[in-house]
Point group: C2
Chain length 496, copies 2
Amino acid sequence: MLKDFEKKKKEDKDALGAQIKELQAKLLSQQQLLRDAGLPVIVLIEGWAAAGKGSLIKELISEIDPRFYNVVSPVVIRESEERFPFLNQYYKAIPETGKVTFLDSGWMESAVQKFLRHEITKSEYNHRIRQVNEFERQLKNSGYLMLKVFLHIDKDEQFGRLRALAEAPETEWRVTRDDLWQHKEYKRFRSAYDEFMVKTNEAERWNILDGSRKKTAVRDTLRLLTKMIDHAVEAGKFTGEPYEEKFPLKKMPLLSEVDLSPAIDEDEYRKELKKLQTRLSELHNIIYRKKIPVILCYEGWDAAGKGGNIRRVTYSLDPRGFDVRPTASPLPHEKNRHFLWRFWTRLPKTGHICIFDRTWYGRVMVERLEGFCSENDWKRAYNEINEFERMLTDWGAVVLKFWIHIDQNTQLARFTDRQNTPEKQWKITDEDWRNREKWPQYEVAVNEMLQNTCTKNAPWYIIESNDKKYARIKTLKIIVKALEKACDEHFKRIME
Amino acid sequence: MLKDFEKKKKEDKDALGAQIKELQAKLLSQQQLLRDAGLPVIVLIEGWAAAGKGSLIKELISEIDPRFYNVVSPVVIRESEERFPFLNQYYKAIPETGKVTFLDSGWMESAVQKFLRHEITKSEYNHRIRQVNEFERQLKNSGYLMLKVFLHIDKDEQFGRLRALAEAPETEWRVTRDDLWQHKEYKRFRSAYDEFMVKTNEAERWNILDGSRKKTAVRDTLRLLTKMIDHAVEAGKFTGEPYEEKFPLKKMPLLSEVDLSPAIDEDEYRKELKKLQTRLSELHNIIYRKKIPVILCYEGWDAAGKGGNIRRVTYSLDPRGFDVRPTASPLPHEKNRHFLWRFWTRLPKTGHICIFDRTWYGRVMVERLEGFCSENDWKRAYNEINEFERMLTDWGAVVLKFWIHIDQNTQLARFTDRQNTPEKQWKITDEDWRNREKWPQYEVAVNEMLQNTCTKNAPWYIIESNDKKYARIKTLKIIVKALEKACDEHFKRIME
């Protein structure tokens, strides 16, 4: 009898090994399908310390060509991590189309650990959960495949594994204080992991696998992964769902309703400019010390005076504490990722000011009008942008958005002047003239954008710029007022 | 009399102001010239604490369009800084063609501070000086313009300025412990700065300006900068000087002399593979703990078996501790910088293994043969690469370079097999066939490359890969041996 039992066991083991080999070969053959279909894949492996996340990933990648994947492990540079939004490092890690990113623990671990360590409050924790759901939904809607696995082991199993590691001299260093703490607090962690999974089971579902049966976990992950890929390749790229959430919005006027006559005389301009720049300079010092990040967004008609306006702002700032980020057409590796990726990866550190000269709103203007994205894409983008900006303000950022506004005649006069002035000619291109012909279509798009994305936390301001000096003063006043408010409320906010 | 004196003083001051305005306008007009000429510019402002570096930069940028420049301040994330080579953050900051990077203190401060604080030894300090000279010369030779300014103030002046800052509540926080320490150690710093400037006055000369006369320093910097740009625009892009230094090189055989018959039988392969992978896995643990960075470079003929070879190496490694970096054609923003930039920015952290699947040697192979760079460029590249790799090994890295070698018949057989096997077809492109036709030219280039860049610190290994299994075992043996040596000698090395 025992012999039969042992024989059966051996057969099962061999069968499992053969299944794994087969699935690894299948994954290898899917590389090309992913590439052809332009599908990016994220595989998130979470789970207990010593549950075997690393060796699971090792098996998953063992046959794939290194050009197709990337393994990302948690970053432990506390200082740099804490000066950016929570999801920053994960957003940075998302793959291009046709490639796979394996995450050896990720946003779940980062949220749960911080919370259990009381480094973030319950309300911050809830923000993180919401942000995770938004993050996953946005990725899904833009065609990302995501597999979420939680490797589960019980307390006794973990004890045995940690002990084996800790007692062997060559692996002793692998057992961290965090691991030991997790083990001692097993029960608390268990319910926190459970709660996190219940609350983030929306866009993508969790798969709980038994970490104590290593080979079975490998096979099951490979099955889930290859099935997901087969399914997606067959279904074609997911084109996104319509958005659901309604953000409370501020009412904006139509561009045609804006009175563009306001102007300012030279003397008052000089006086005001000096006063505002001095004040802004003082405020820059304070926000630097209070570590408040500031994000200023400039959009507007060609030749509306964005550049000169930005320069009047930066003139007051310490060059060590700000950056101007011009936004050009996306590069290939940017185009092959979620449209917000190239902005996520350019956020300022806390305490710094970042000025975007054109922004993510390109999605609902030029990309919409030139057909660089689908209708679904740009319609969904209003909500995606509102979520992105709420994430920024939840993080503590001041976000201000300026539409630098002129009328068509003023634009024509400035274009002509640029054309006729040798040292300004570089500023004017054929594309500017072509865009000018599309003024009416742009006006429709801009009006829709202003209506759909003027949130309380990240408001739009229309800046009348037929008189550039008036525009500069108005912009500076808005910035100064917003920074004063942010400095005043800083302590209250962090104490919430 | 006094009235005349005061009048003269006022006139001088006005004249200075007018000169600055004029030079700022000139700089503004040079933006376009820089863009058209494809010239990148680096402005390095070094000097004493409180000498006015920040406000000097503010004046320099005040009129330029933010799309043309970038200000970089010293990074203070000690942890991340110390896990990369000294020049890493500065190399990362170099601008694209047509743009300007202003550095608010840079490699001088980083080298001198570390040395005076005894955080690096005299010999490491000397390495840094050599690396700085190499860095500046390499940039110059690839067309970069560089202006180096040292803002000098005497001890009394610094005392007054630090005191003014420290005693005003709103600026008190700006005075750091480092600043106070520098002031107390003024004399030591003075001679260290002096020595550093004397020793790094090679590729680009230092300009010492009087920081106590702020406006004059602004004018003089603007003058130097605009003059440098004018001169460079007139002269056209600098095409580089021939290299001077002779590295001690190991003698390499010609490819045609290599016997490609070695093979291994299946049984021995399995046995050896297992043994070597187990050992490599152990060594990976040790190098991780000892924080030794490892850089493995793969080059070779198309279809020589690089991918499979790399996979046999990575199979033994913990996915958290290695990265495979495939090298494709450079993207536009990479092409617009020094050719090593895209590798500099992808170096592994200490303790990590980085495998480059194709490397910077593209410069002397495909870029040479396809005419993507000038003859001057690729001829100079041998030396530039040797310097780059010496910098890596001075930093403590193990650098191994593999030429995966096959003969023409074997390549043809593998190409044909790929063509005829559906799941391998993605691996073969028209370009591969075109490259095959250029075999003889490539062979000349590869032979030259091997002769010119097989240094003792970063040696080449020719891996006979007509039998792929033999090739994998040979590569693994070389890696294991090199890592064992590095682990053995680690303590001795850091104690040097």
